[in-house]
Amino acid sequence: MTVPTIRVENLGKLYQIGERDSYRTLRDTIARSFQRSPRKSEEHIWALRDVSFDVYEGEVVGCIGGNGAGKSTLLKLLSRITEPTEGSFELRGRVSSLLDIGVGFHPELTGRENIFLSGAILGMKKREITNKFNEIVKFSELERFIDTPIKHYSTGMWVRLGFAVAAHMEPEILLVDEVLSAGDAAFQKKCLGKIDEATGEGRTVLIVSHNLKAITDLCERCLWIDHGRIIRRGSTQEVVVAYLESTQPQRTSGRIEPDMHENPNADALFQQVTIVNATDQHVTKIFFGETLRIIIQFEVVRPVSELRIAAGLERHQDGITVAMVHNNDDPTSSLHNLKPGVYSLQVETKIPLSPGGYSINLEAKPGTGITRAGRNWDVVRRAIDFNVEEFTKKGEGVPSVDGVIRPSSKWMLTGKESQ
C-alpha cells in the first residue's frame, strides 16, 4: 500500500465567535482582571471538526460546500496559516498554497518587480523565478506593461499577472482556494489547462471552489463539507449532483404582478409561469440536456376567437432570444373560441441550451386577422428566470462551448489513406 501524500486525521478548528472581527484591548483586559465576577463564558464555534481524508500522489481532489461551510478553513490549516485546535495532518513533499491571486503584490512596484516579490512569497527561489521570468511574462500577456507600476493595471491585468506567477510554481502538493473564479473566461480556461498540465506531471492537488464546472473538469474525487464536517465524499459526479440537488430552491414563483403586463387591458392576461422537473416540482435550474417543462397560466378577460401564445427564451449573458416556442407549432394545442376564465397550458421542449442563465418572455396574441401590433396583446418580459446547469442529469460535466446551443451531432469520416 502506498503512503498518502496528504493525510488528514480528525482535524478540527475552534474559533471564538467574533474573534475574527473584533479584537481585545489591553485596557479591557486589565480592567477585567480587576473585576471579581467570573468572565462570561465565551461562545465558540467549530469551523471544522472530525475531518479525515487521504489524498494520494497525482490525485486531484475537489472540495465543495456553501459559504462558511469550512472549506477555506481546511485550506488555511493545510497551508499552515493557522493551527489546528485538534487532530493532525501530514504532507509529503513541497507544498504551495494558492489562497488568493497576487499575494504580496505591491501597487507601487512594477510588474517585473512584483513577479519576483510574489514568486518569493509563494515559495519560489530567486533562480527559479529568473529562469521562468520570460515564460511568466508571456503567460500573463502583459509584455508591454511589465515595467509599469501595477497600480496602473486593471483588475484583469492584476489577476493575469498573479496567476501567471502562481502557474509557474512547481510544488509537489498544490492547495488552491477559489482563485479560479477570478479573471475572464478565456484566461480562466488557460489557467485550468495549466493546472491540468501540472497534474499530468504527478502533482497532487486539492482545490476548493464554488465553480462546480472547474471541479468536475479537474477532479476525480470530491469532498462536500457542510458545517465543518465532511458530509459526502466520492466520485466528483456523484458528490456534485448530490450537492446541486440539496442547494436547489424548493419553490419559485413566476407570479406575474400587475405592473409586469405591457398592456394591462389586453384580452388575455398572463397570471403565472412555472418551470417544473420530471416529478412536477417547481425548479429554477435544469440540468443540461433536460427537457424544459413550462406551465403557463393565463386569464381570458374577453372572449377570443383564437389565442396564440409564445414563450421566448432569452439568454442573460447577451440578451439573445435563443428560441421562441409557439403553441400553434403543435397542431393539437390550437386555442379557439375561448370564453372568459382561467386556463393553464403546459409546454415541453428539448432545446440543448448551453449552460447559463435564461429568462422566459411571454406573448399572448388574440385573433387571427392582422391586428394592430400590441393593441390587445399581452406581453410579459422576464416572467421567470432559470439556469441551465453545467452538468447532465447523470452528473457528466459539459465542456464549455461558445455557441448558444449545443446540439448533439453525428460525424462521418470518408476518404482513404493515400498509401
Binding site: 504580496g104 515559495g123 527561489k125
Partner: protein, 269 residues
C-alpha cells in the same frame, strides 16, 4: 511534515528561517523600493530625521540649557548618538506594527513570520548607512577624527539590532493581541529617547547610579558610538555588560513569546 497543535514554548527554528532567507531579502528589498518610490525625498529622509532632531537639540539643550557635551561641539555630540538611535527607533516602530500591517500576507501564505521584522532590520541598514555617511562628513567639517575604537562599531550596531528586534517582537505580538498597544509604542519610544544619553552625556548621571543606567540597553550603544567615533567619555565595562545582558534577555524572551503566538496571528488579525 506532520502538523498538529503545539503547546510548548520554544525558540523559532533557525533552520527554517535560514531556508526562507531569500524571502527575507525580498521583503527588505520591497521595503526599500517602496519607501524610495513613495517619498519625494527618498534617501534624504534617512538624514532629515536625525538632522532635524540635532538642530532642535542643539538649540534647546546645547545653546539654551547649556547641556555639557564632553568637549566636542554639541551638534556633533547629539548627531553621533542620533545615528544609532534613529535606526533603533525606526526599526522598532516598524517591527511593532509589522504584523498588523502585514495582515494580508499573513492571512494568505505561510512563511516564518519573523522574516517581516528581520526584513525591517535589513532595510533600515540602508538608512543607517546614509546617516552614518553624513556623520563622517560632519566630522570632517568639525575636524574630528574617529578613534581606533571604530572597530567596535559593528558590535555596537549589533546590540542596537538585538534590542530593536527583542523589544519589537514583544510589541508586535502584543499589538496583534491588544490593539491599543499601537498607541503605547510611540509613547514608549519618546520616553526612551530621553532615558538614553542622547541630548546629554551619561556623565550627568551620578556615578553610583550609572550601572543601573545600563539597564537601558541603548545607553551602551549610544555612549559606545560616541566613544568610538568622537573619543568622548569612557566606556564603563560593567554598565556595558548590564546593557548586553538585558539586550540578549529581551531578544530571547521576545523570540519565544513571538514564536508562541505566531501561529495564532492569522486568526487574530
Amino acid at each position: 511534515m506532520k502538523v498538529e497543535t503545539s503547546k510548548r514554548w520554544s525558540l523559532p527554528s533557525f533552520k527554517e528561517i535560514w531556508q526562507y532567507r531569500e524571502l527575507g531579502y525580498f521583503l527588505a528589498w520591497r521595503d526599500i523600493r517602496v519607501r524610495y518610490k513613495q517619498t519625494v525625498l527618498g534617501a534624504a529622509w534617512a538624514v532629515i530625521q536625525p538632522f532635524m532632531t540635532t538642530v532642535v537639540f542643539s538649540l534647546f539643550f546645547g545653546l539654551l540649557a547649556k547641556v555639557p557635551s564632553e568637549g566636542v561641539p554639541y551638534p556633533i555630540f547629539a548627531y553621533t548618538a542620533l545615528v544609532p538611535w534613529s535606526y533603533f527607533q525606526n526599526t522598532l516602530t516598524q517591527i511593532s506594527n509589522s504584523m498588523v500591517l502585514g495582515r494580508d500576507l499573513i492571512g494568505k501564505v505561510y512563511f516564518p513570520r519573523i522574516l517581516i521584522p528581520i526584513a525591517a532590520l535589513l532595510s533600515g541598514l540602508l538608512d543607517f548607512g546614509i546617516s552614518f555617511a553624513v556623520l563622517l562628513v560632519l566630522m570632517i567639517y568639525y575636524g574630528i577624527a574617529p578613534t581606533l575604537n571604530v572597530v567596535f562599531l559593528p558590535i555596537l550596531l549589533l546590540f542596537a539590532i538585538i534590542t530593536s528586534l527583542g523589544v519589537g517582537l514583544w510589541l508586535a505580538t502584543l499589538n496583534v493581541m491588544y490593539r491599543d498597544v499601537a498607541f503605547i509604542a510611540p509613547f514608549l519610544v519618546q520616553v526612551w529617547l530621553f532615558a538614553t544619553p542622547i541630548a546629554y552625556p551619561s556623565s550627568l548621571v551620578p556615578a553610583r547610579w550609572r550601572i543601573w543606567y545600563g539597564i537601558n540597553p541603548m545607553t551602551g550603544v549610544v555612549e559606545g558610538f560616541r566613544w568610538a567615533m568622537l573619543g568622548t567619555g569612557t566606556i564603563s565595562l560593567p554598565t556595558f555588560a548590564v546593557s548586553g545582558i538585558i539586550s540578549v534577555l529581551l531578544l530571547v524572551t521576545g523570540l519565544v513569546y513571538f514564536k508562541h503566538y505566531e501561529r495564532t496571528f492569522a486568526d487574530r488579525i
